[in-house]
Every structure is written in structure tokens, then in C-alpha cells.
């Protein structure tokens, strides 16, 4: 696997798949110096959205990384089958699609507060700095708490 998250995000935005970037890459986008290995996005996984995602990722052999057999995302879930979260690996990187984020409410609320960023010519919605801090603090693991402190510093510097 050769990570190329810029290509991944470009493909996702071009596909029309509606999402908000969250997690480590959102932190990097806001100015964090942490290094992360997966792209986490928040979305509503309707049948239509799952199909858009399949089309977008098809050329990179997307597989369910949490299944022992590494099932193909191109075959599972079957149409109409309900899915909560997707944890995928592709040739260009790991992408996790979540339908709930601890303490942040639903997708509509998260997107209404999200910020628009241009990344390599593509406009992308990214979780707001304030929501990201809340999310990191809500998760409460050591590394998330540390990231929350860093993000609070970034928020303070942005207010200057």
C-alpha cells in the first residue's frame, strides 16, 4: 500500500459522496503536527451513498479491514443491507466511514458547523475545530487528550 490520501480525498469529493472529514486528518488540516495513518470521515450510509463510495473506491481494491477474510467492499454489504460503519483498506490508504461521533450529534448538525477547506483544488468539508476538540475530549484516550490540548492551542492562536 502506498498512501496517497490527497488522491483519496479528491476521488471522494469528485464522486458526489457527501461527507465531513473528522479524526486525525481533520486535525492535520486545522494545523496539528500529529501523524495519522487513516482517513476518518463522517457520513450517512444510505444505499445510494454506499454505491457512490463503491464507485469512488473501486479501482483501489477496497476491503473490509476488520474482517479476517478481508471481504471486498465491492461485494459487501449487499444492496439494501444496513451498515453502521465501514472500516476499509485500499491501495492508497485506510479509510474509515463512521455514522456516529461521540458527543457530536447527527450528521446534519456536524455539517452545519463544519468548515470548508480547499485541498489540492478540491473543496472539502472538515469538522469544525471546536467540534473536533469536543470529540477528542469525549473519546478521552491519552493520545486524544494530547491532540485536544494541541487543538486548543491552535484555536487560541487562530483567535489572535
Amino acid at each position: 500500500m502506498t498512501p496517497d490520501f490527497s488522491q483519496l480525498i479528491a476521488k471522494l469529493t469528485d464522486s458526489g459522496f457527501e461527507f465531513v472529514m473528522i479524526g486525525g486528518y481533520a486535525a492535520v488540516t486545522h494545523g496539528s503536527s500529529q501523524v495519522t495513518r487513516d482517513l476518518e470521515i463522517y457520513a450517512v450510509l444510505t444505499d445510494e451513498n454506499v454505491e457512490l463510495l463503491r464507485l469512488a473506491l473501486a479501482e483501489w481494491n477496497p476491503r473490509h479491514r476488520m474482517t479476517p477474510q478481508r471481504l471486498s467492499f465491492l461485494k459487501f454489504p449487499k444492496p439494501g443491507e444496513r451498515v453502521d460503519n465501514l472500516y476499509l483498506e485500499t491501495y492508497v490508504g485506510v479509510v474509515d466511514i463512521l455514522t456516529a461521533v461521540l458527543g457530536l450529534g447527527d450528521f446534519a448538525r456536524l455539517k452545519s458547523a463544519a468548515e470548508k477547506f480547499e485541498i489540492d483544488g478540491r473543496v472539502c468539508w472538515v469538522i469544525s475545530l471546536e467540534d473536533l476538540i469536543l470529540a477528542k475530549e469525549a473519546v478521552g484516550r491519552g493520545k486524544d487528550k494530547l491532540t485536544a490540548v494541541e487543538l486548543r492551542v491552535i484555536a487560541a492562536k487562530r483567535k489572535r
Binding site: 496539528s32 501523524v35 480547499e118 494530547l146 492551542v153 491552535i154 487560541a156 492562536k157
Partner: protein, 108 residues
Amino acid sequence: MGGEGGRAVARGTVPCKRRTGADVVEGAGWWMISFCRAAQKRFVLGMEPESALFEEARQAGIDLDLIDTNLALSVGERWRQHDGALRFILKLQEAKAAHDAGLQPTDR
């Protein structure tokens, strides 16, 4: 400091009558420590919230200069820099795996 003649003597106080030079120095030491601690507490409590936050970040090991550097970059540049770091980490991991498998010579 301990008790004197069975009477407990509070830390930082020295009975006046039998005070020796050493007692005076020790007593002054405790007074200085107490003063410094109080001053430090006042300094921390009196900090602007932003300064206190930056101090918390520094103590947690966060490089504030690196944040300034990142904020001066465009988002695209932040991503490129991040992905470059990630690729380098993966290369190091591959090197370690090759080393562990005996595929690389070692200095030992």
C-alpha cells in the same frame, strides 16, 4: 525539624531562645521555599488563560513552534508534509521488518 524537649516544633518555625546559626539558616530556607511556592502559585493562577494553555501544552511535550510553522502553511502543504512524514514512517517500519528478518547487515 523535629521536636525539642518532647515538644513538637512546627516546620518553618524556630524557637527563639535556643536558636543556633544552623537553625536560622534552616528556618530561613523553609521561609524561602514557602515564599517561592506561594509566588509560583500566584504566578500560575494569575496567568492569562492563553498563557496557561500554552504552558500546559509545553509541559505535555507539544512543540508550539511546530504549530506556528504548520499554521503558516496552506492546507495542501500541511497535507503534503504530513503524507511525506507518513511515507517516511512506513519506510522505517519496512526497514525494521527487513532488519528483524535478518535481511540487513547490522553493526553488531
